[in-house]
């Protein structure tokens, strides 16, 4: 099964130069290398801060763009890792080893299986 681990954190916290934050940041490389070695990783990217982003919407055929999103909430999407795991619990374990899970949060989302019917909401 394929899952996407969405990493959220507060940049003020992660880049505060504290020993805890720096230790976690130093571990990110090993964590990624371990996931690559174990064959769990499909792809991963770290994202620049949202103030580098543009948000696009099309309404009634017209495109509008805005800067941001601006950081109204402290925790922002900071990166993602696409993994292959046996099941949700293995994915949760893998996410739990991510150093950013200690500083922020990692959301584990199963990818859509198109052989299944669309959700009824």
């Amino acid at each position: 099964m394929r899952y996407v681990c969405l990493i959220y954190f507060d940049p003020q916290r992660v880049f505060d130069q504290s020993a805890t934050s720096n230790a976690a940041l130093a571990e990110v490389g090993t964590y990624n290398a371990d996931l690559r070695a174990s064959g769990h990783i499909v792809t991963s990217e770290a994202l620049q801060l949202p103030n580098e982003a543009v948000t696009v919407r099309v309404r009634e055929g017209k495109m509008s763009t805005t800067d941001g999103p601006f950081m109204e909430t402290k925790e922002m999407l900071a990166g993602f890792i696409v993994i292959e795991a046996r099941d949700l619990n293995e994915a949760v374990q893998i996410a739990g080893r991510d150093p950013f899970a200690r500083l922020g949060a990692v959301e584990v989302r199963p990818v859509v299986d198109y052989s299944k019917p669309r959700p009824k909401l």
Partner: protein, 417 residues
Amino acid sequence: MSTPAAHVALDAAYRRDARRALATLIRLLGSFDAAEEALHEAFCAAAEQWPREGVPANPYSWLVSTGRFKTIDRWRRQTRLAGSLPEMAALAGTAPEPFMPEEIEDDELRLIFICCHPALAPDARIALTLREVAGLTTEEIARAYLVPAPTIAQRIVRAKAKIRDEAIPYEVPCYSELPARLESALQVIYLIFNEGYGATQGPSLTRADLCIQAIRLGRLVVDLLDDCDAIGLLALMLLHEARRATRVDPAGDLILLEDQDRSRWGRAQINEARSLIDRALLSRRIGPYVLQAAIAAIHAAAPSFAATDWPQIVALYDVLVRMDPSPVVKLNRAAALAMTDGPAVGLTTIEQVMTEGGLDNYYLAHAARADMQRRLGNTEAALASYSRALELTQQPAEQRFLEVRLSQLRAESGARQ
């Protein structure tokens, strides 16, 4: 060795050895999560090495020692970053030891006992046992129990945290604790079986899987621990399983025991169960599972519902009631008594059990009372009891069965008036 042959060997090793290897790795590494990771790494290494170097003579030992050394290796690397870990000291010094067969068997038993530990909530025991011992995925368990996958995932995460935080030891319980601990393990296995057997809603395939898994777990316990309660449970599950296909018609409607096609009952399972019951009876320590299996075996042996040895069934229920005086057991005894002494005695006994309490919301109690009332011609009372039973069940097949009974009775009472 050619590559396809290595892949076949790898698949076979996965099916045959993965669960056992995991059980041993949990003991060696002292952690579920580390063990699962180690097993994953061992299989990755096998996929790479076996096609090139050949399949090892003992794939299980190879997987365990590879997984273990990969973990030690990773811990070493992490230690350089994070300072020394206590686990390192314990592991680094020990040389790979030969794996004794008894020890391997104990590992699986340890795993069952830790997953079924009474300190864990019953829901957590079931989820953990299905995932760690039976090897189902979180998503499969969620589908079988009609529960969202994150709910099951959290049960498993919390159960593992509890095992770690409370330092629940990974061991086969000592002799004095064994009966209580085994009871909890057998209960989990029986709950898994009943979930698959009793419910007729939801995707039928995954439900049947639960029964197959429960029987496999039951067989594992019997193989590892020659205990008569475990033998009795396995026999009981096999006897239920033998009748599974005849309990529901192609439209998904319930077929009562008296109307089931007995020629389609699984003879191999019935015969296996019979010899298990004989084996359990030799021990002379007869528990409730053996008794229930013995009752089910009498049904299985009977050529028809009418020709069933009902006095023998009532006699076995009398013993069972003494051992387990629960309202449900008493209700079942009352239903059997109605077959020997007639519906009037049956009705009196059922009503007596119902006044003792505990059955008010149990639809089968109301359905059983309704059946007696119907047979005695108390149509109005029977209609009321069937209606009450109908209010209490959520299962579509049971609802349809009760609705048919209600409309038959209404038609009869209408015809008389």
